[in-house]
Amino acid sequence: MTALRDAFVSALVALGLFGPLVGLVAASGEHGLSLHVRPVATAVVVGLVFLGRLLIVSWRGRNRRPIAKTNRARTERLSRTGQYIAPVLLIAAVALPFTGSRYYIDLGTLVLTYIMLGWGLNIVVGLAGLLDLGYVAFYAVGAYSYALLATTFGLGFWTCLPLAGILAALWGVMLGFPVLRLRGDYLAIVTLAFGEIIRIVLINWVSLTNGPNGIGGIPRPTLFGLAFSMDGGPGTFGGFFHIEPAVIQRIDFLYYVILGLALLTNWVSLRLRRLPLGRAWEALREDEVACRSLGINVRNTKLTAFGIGALFGGFAGAFFATRQAFISPESFTFIESATVLAIVVLGGLGSQLGVALAAIVMVGGLEALRDGLSFLGDQMNSPIFAGIASELPLYRMLIFGLALVVMMVLRPRGLVSGRTPGVALTKPKAIGPDLVAEGRG
C-alpha cells in the first residue's frame, strides 16, 4: 500500500517535471511559433516513473538484508575480481590502437586524459583529504606553459613537459599557502575561486595569452626528435622507418604518450602511498590535530599534496595543449574541475582502480550513451514518439545525471571503496566500505 502511494507521489512529481518538458513543444508554423501538446508522450513518461517507483519500493521491501554483511561480501568479491580488472584494463589500453579505429583511439586518449587528471586530483582529495574544486587551474597552467614556451621560444614538447609540470606545481604550492588553515567547505570555496581567477586572468591578459582567441599552432610532440609530419622527409617518423606517413601514426603516438603519462601518475601515487609522506597525507585526512601532535609538519605535508597533485595536472595540461594544437580559456571552465572531482568521488576516494573505472564510465559512458540514443532514435518510427526520436540524444545528460544519482545511492562510497593498507606484515587485507567513512574527504 505504501508502495502504491509512493509511486503515485513520484508520478505526480514526474508530471510536474515532464509536463512542460515533454508535453509542450514549440513549433514554428505559418503564424510564427505555436504550441503543441503531446499528451501521449507525457503519459508514457509519467507511467514509466510510476511503474519504476512501484517496482523499486516493492523490491526493496522484500529484500531487506543486513547492509554490513552484504557490503563485506561484496567487497571481498570485488577485491578478488579487482585483481583481474586492473591487468585486463591495462592490456586493453595497450591494445586499443591496434583496432585502427580513429574514433576509438581519440576517445581512448580523452578517457586517459581524465584518468590522469583523476589520479592527480586523487592525491589531493582522496589521499590528503583536501577538497579542491579548482583543479582545472593547474591543467590550464600546464597547457598555457607549454603553449607559450613552445610558441615563444620554440622549445619542444619533451623539454617543456617537465617545465609545465613544475610551473603547475609552483602554482599548487602558491594556492596551498593561503588555504593552509582552511578545511572542508571553506577550502572548497577558495579553491573554486582560484580556478576561476586563473581562467579570468587567461581571458584578460591579452598581451601574453592572446585572451579569448587562444593560442594556436602549438607544436606536436616528437619521438626522439622524429616529427610526425606528412612530407616523409629523413627527419620524420615516416622517413626514418621508411613507412608511408599517415595521420593515424600521430594519433597512435599521442595515445601512447598519454597512456605513459597516466601510468607514471599511477606509479608515483602507489609509491608515495607506501612512503612516510603518503602515510602522512592519509593521516592528515583523518586527523590534523593528531598529526601535529606526532611531530608532523602539517604545512609542508599539505603543500606537497597540493604541489604533487598540481604537477600531474600540469603534465596533463601540456599534453592537452599538444594534442589539440590550439587552446583557449574556454577549455578550462569549472565544469572540468567538477568532472574530475566527480570521477574521483564516483571512483571511491583514494582508489586508483576506482578512478580509472569512473573515468571510463563518466567520459566513455557519456559518449556511448549519445551513440546509443541516436541509434535508438533512428529506430523509433511510431507516431507517438514523433518529435522525441530526433531529440533523444539530447536526453543523455538527463539519463547520465540519473545514473550518477542512482550510483551514489547504491554505492555511496564510490565504485571501489575499500582501502588497502599502505603497509602490511602479511597479505594485505582490504578494508571494507562499511568501515570507510561516508561522504567525507
Binding site: 593521516a283 590535530v289 601532535s293 606526532l294 608532523i296 602539517v298 593498507p421 602490511a424
Partner: protein, 240 residues
C-alpha cells in the same frame, strides 16, 4: 638539578577567555607528575599549550634549557616530547601498524622493528590487532594504541591526556600499570593529566591541582592524597 620541563607564569587565552592564569610547574627527569582538576579547569589546555596550540601569551616554557614557547608544534614534538592527546585521536581508517608507524615519523627510519617490539611487549593486545583498522578497536585498545604511537618517537617526556577517559576500571589499572612499568624500566618522564584523581595520585611522584586556570596546591602524590580538601573535592563522591 635543572628540571626537564619548567613552566613559569604561563598564561593562555581562547579568544578573550583566559584559560591559564600564570602557571608555574616543573617536571624533573624520571618523574611521573600528574595534573588533576575538575572539568574545565584548564588541564588539557595546559597540556596543549606545552605543545604550542594554543600558544601561550606570556610566561616561559623551558625544555632542556631552551625556551620553546615560540616553537611550532611539530618542532616541539621533535624535541623528545610525545603526546597521547585527549580523546586518543588515533587514525581510525588506518591499521594499527600504520598508526604506530605514524608515531615513528619523527624518530626517523632506523630501528622501527625494535620500537614496534617494545610497544608490543608493553601492549601485547596491539600485536594481535596489528592489521586491524584503528576504528574497530575497543576503547582500551585505542588508548593503548595512542600511547604506543606516542612511544614510537622514542620520547624522553610523555604527555598523557586523560588516558582513563571512558574506560573500565580494569583497563584503567592495566594502562596505569603500563605507565608505571615504562617509568621504572626506562626512566621515561611522564606528565599525566587526569580526572581520576585517586589513581593518578597513587601513580605519580608529584601532583598539581588546577582550579580555574591556576595551580592551587602541589605536593607529592601521597601527600596530596592525604589532604582533606583534596579528598573532599576530588576523591569522595564516586571518584575512588
Amino acid at each position: 638539578m635543572t628540571p626537564l620541563l619548567s613552566l613559569s607564569g604561563v598564561t593562555a587565552f581562547y579568544g578573550a577567555i583566559q584559560a591559564l592564569r600564570g602557571i608555574d610547574l616543573t617536571v624533573n627527569a624520571g618523574e611521573i607528575v600528574t595534573l588533576i582538576g575538575a572539568n574545565g579547569a584548564g588541564k588539557s589546555t595546559l597540556m596543549m599549550t606545552i605543545c604550542g596550540t594554543p600558544r601561550a601569551r606570556s610566561g616561559s616554557i623551558v625544555h632542556n634549557g631552551q625556551d620553546i614557547i615560540q616553537w611550532p608544534t611539530h618542532a616541539i614534538m621533535r624535541r623528545g616530547i610525545a603526546q597521547a592527546p585527549e580523546g586518543r585521536r588515533i587514525f581510525s581508517r588506518m591499521t594499527v601498524h600504520e598508526n604506530l608507524l605514524m608515531g615513528a615519523e619523527v624518530a626517523g627510519r632506523g630501528g622501527i622493528p625494535d620500537l614496534l617490539d617494545q610497544v608490543f611487549a608493553l601492549f601485547p593486545r596491539l600485536k594481535e590487532r596489528i592489521s586491524q583498522r584503528g576504528g574497530t578497536l575497543s576503547g582500551g585498545e585505542q588508548q593503548m594504541l595512542a600511547i604506543g604511537r606516542a612511544l614510537m618517537s622514542r620520547p624522553e617526556l610523555l604527555l598523557l591526556d586523560e588516558p582513563s577517559l571512558g574506560l573500565a576500571p580494569l583497563v584503567v589499572r592495566q594502562i596505569f600499570g603500563a605507565i608505571r612499568d615504562l617509568n621504572r624500566s626506562s626512566g621515561l618522564t611522564v606528565l599525566l593529566v587526569e580526572q581520576n584523581a585517586y589513581q593518578a595520585l597513587r601513580l605519580a611522584h608529584r601532583g598539581y591541582v588546577l582550579v580555574n586556570g591556576s595551580i592551587t596546591m602541589t605536593g607529592t602524590g601521597a601527600d596530596l592524597l592525604a589532604r582533606p580538601e583534596i579528598r573532599a573535592a576530588y576523591l569522595e563522591g564516586g571518584h575512588g
